[in-house]
């Protein structure tokens, strides 16, 4: 816990991020709607993106091809015009030829201010003629824009047009352009290359527009897909959530909660079957409640109706028993038997009524803080006469510290009395040890005897109603056969444990563990149930 706090304080932002991540993950796990919508949107975006990219690519290729075709036609016509004009020129000097070149190029230049083509005339790279004309350029794009591959291709195949698509820089912007190169023969100056550059800025603008349109369309489509998914899942998720809420209210005990059901679709079917389930649950619970009430009433009535005549019998028997010396021996013996059996009948009735109270769920705890050491001491003290008769010694092992716990002392005393009396009765005259220990959460009492012990598998049977270890010698020891069953119920009522352990010849041990705070859950017991090293220590402590 301190380490966690430290971690949180040292890497604050990281912790916040982790927290956000965790929260997002939880929302993701919890919301079906969120999952469906985001998956749908993701798939939609992917599809739209792929489709858009494909279409964009196709359009772009088509536009480029078309541009190349028109450019080559245009360039071919213009080249013919230039060749024709060179052939018809009369200039022979370098100066005149340069002027003629300027004129011819001006004729090839487009008239509009935004140039759709640039024209360049330059000396062919294999031209060795002595007359050298200056390179003529029609606009801002010069010979430097023409790649050397194109120049070489033009000199290699002077009779055909050479086409290349590459980027040029116009107004410091990179624009793809179609370049067409071919040769013209200049009189007395040899072969000159004529290059036409057709920048594709219009096509580029068109592509940019298409791209924007695609993006917007894609975005709208994705949002639309998301919205559709949201609406659709909502139609399904909302009734499911409502069902969950209703189920929760039902489980918290509001049995009258029902789902609204209209229509004939699957969801209406869900609501109808849900309501049917709730109806049947409610009626069964009511029935059980009714049965439980009837049972409790019955127990209470039986209790009263049986007890009153039993009291009269009890008093009469006691009166007869007291004056048994006045009777003949057989009648006197009968009076004794009558009294003994009446005792048994009474305790049996009392135990039966107690058990039915547990079964009816009518048993309630009367809690108060009790130091179990004093309870144990009281119980052991009360059992001394029996121990004396049986020849057993009861050895108490109490700690120095208080063993206080919130318990119903009457019930705990009853459990302990049962365990101690059982131990003495089955202890075969050997010592019975009663130890109490406590820790933070629990108080434990172990009652151990050194009698015949329990056979394997019997440890769980001892708490069964009317169970007897040895049917052959069953009735010689007293008891109703319900004592341990009641003790177990009493322990359970406290949220406690009552456990048995035994080995043939090693005796048996019963351990009662109770939470120190009423209603708290037990995590362990301060005393071991089985015989081990710690028991030897306890025995030493007793001996000292």
């Amino acid at each position: 816990m301190p380490e966690q706090a430290q971690a949180a304080s040292t890497n604050g932002p990281a912790a916040v991020a982790m927290d956000l991540l965790r929260r997002a993950r939880r929302t993701w796990r919890q919301s079906l709607q969120l999952r469906v919508v985001s998956t749908t949107v993701l798939l939609g975006v992917l599809t739209v993106g792929l489709l858009g990219a494909y279409l964009y690519d196709e359009i772009s290729r088509g536009l480029t091809e078309q541009k190349v075709t028109t450019s080559t036609y245009d360039a071919r016509a213009l080249t013919r015009v230039a060749q024709a004009r060179w052939e018809s020129t009369t200039s022979r000097t370098v100066a005149d030829l340069n002027i003629a070149a300027g004129d011819i190029l001006a004729g090839l230049k487009p008239s509009d201010p935004d140039p759709t083509r640039y024209v360049i005339m330059a000396r062919g790279i294999e031209n060795t003629n002595a007359t050298v004309l200056a390179t003529v350029e029609s606009g801002t794009l010069g010979l430097s824009s023409v790649r050397s591959e194109l120049k070489e291709a033009v000199s290699a195949h002077p009779s055909t047009q050479q086409v290349q698509v590459s980027d040029v820089i116009i107004d410091s912007e990179r624009v793809p352009a179609v370049m067409v190169g071919s040769q013209v023969q200049v009189p007395s100056a040899g072969a000159y290359d004529l290059y036409f550059i057709y920048p594709m800025n219009r096509e580029q603008a068109t592509m940019a527009f298409i791209q924007k349109a695609f993006l917007i369309a894609g975005l709208i489509l994705s949002v639309l897909v998301g919205a559709v998914a949201w609406v659709v899942t909502r139609q399904v998720v909302t009734p499911v959530r409502r069902a969950a809420a209703v189920a929760e209210r039902l489980s918290s005990g509001k049995l009258n909660e029902r789902m609204a059901s209209h229509g004939e679709d699957d969801l209406a079917l869900l609501a109808t079957s849900f309501n049917g389930m709730a109806d049947s649950l409610q009626s069964q619970i009511r029935q059980l409640e009714g049965l439980s009430r009837v049972q409790q009433r019955f127990v209470s009535d039986v209790s009263h109706e049986l007890r009153t005549p039993l009291t009269t019998i009890r008093m009469a028997v006691d009166l007869i028993h007291e004056s048994r010396e006045d009777f003949t021996p057989s009648v006197a013996r009968s009076a004794e038997l009558l009294q003994g059996e009446l005792d048994r009948f009474e305790s049996l009735l009392a135990d039966l009524l107690e058990i039915s109270r547990f079964d009816a769920g009518a048993a309630a705890l009367d809690l108060e803080p009790v130091d179990l050491r004093s309870t144990v001491a009281t119980v052991v003290e009360a059992a001394r006469p029996l121990a004396l008769r049986r020849g057993s010694e009861v050895v108490l092992d109490l700690p120095e510290t208080s063993c206080e716990a919130e318990v119903d002392e009457r019930r705990v005393e009853r459990i302990l009395r049962n365990l101690v009396v059982n131990a003495i009765e089955h202890g075969e005259g050997r010592p019975v040890e009663v130890s109490v220990r406590t820790d933070e959460g629990a108080v434990a009492v172990v009652v151990a005897d050194h009698g015949v012990g329990l056979r394997p598998g019997e440890a769980s049977l001892v708490f069964n109603r009317f169970w007897r270890a040895d049917p052959a010698r069953a009735r010689t020891t007293g008891g109703t056969g319900l004592g341990l069953a009641i003790a177990l119920e009493d322990a359970r009522l406290h949220n406690g444990w009552l456990q048995a352990w035994g080995k043939p010849g090693a005796g048996s041990r019963f351990r009662l563990t109770l939470p120190r705070l009423a209603g708290a859950a037990l995590e362990g017991s301060p005393l071991p149930l089985e015989v081990g090293a710690e028991v030897a220590v306890i025995a030493d402590g007793v001996g000292a």
Partner: protein, 225 residues
Amino acid sequence: MKGRVLVVDDDLALAEMLGIVLRNEGLEVTHVADGSAAVAAFRESRPDVVLLDVMLPGIDGLEVCRRIRAESGVPIVMLTAKTDTVDVVVGLESGADDYVVKPFKPQELMARVRARLRRGDEPDQERLTIGDLTIDVAGHSVKRGSQTLGLTPLEFDLLVALARKPWQVFTREVLLEQVWGYRHAGDTRLVNVHVQRLRSKVEIDPERPEIVVTVRGVGYKAGPA
């Protein structure tokens, strides 16, 4: 033992048997079977102890108990067939001093009756103080200043037991033995209920008791004088 006992029980066989046992002990017994006739019978016979069945025709035992308690502090012992905490506590809260659960042994009943009759046998010229109260043991009166507090004999005995040894913490078991006369384990709820009833009469603020102080996990003791 001398004394008058009023038995209120609708079961005639039991009532007759109770009569036999009580008369054998030398007590004078009056019997009434009907709850509605019980209070009138009580006024007429002026008993020293009332044995009262909880379930009665006419008016039920708890109501009879309340009515008798309203006009007298006479010891009342409930005869009950129920051992549930609620039933017992309700019975005690309606004013009963003690109770016996059916089926009881005659000796058990006689012990309870004897314990209720025994009190006042040995008048004691004693004056005790507890908190701001003065107790006249012989005169059976408790006063705060000049105001007399009306306690039943049992509540009086409980207060006297605590006041006689103000330094001692009494466990519920010890009080059961000293005040109720239980020689063996009894029902500690008796003590709890009667301490509450006593507090409601003697404490200035019963929520914050100063006369009868709870010692958590042990029992009760007298508050500092």
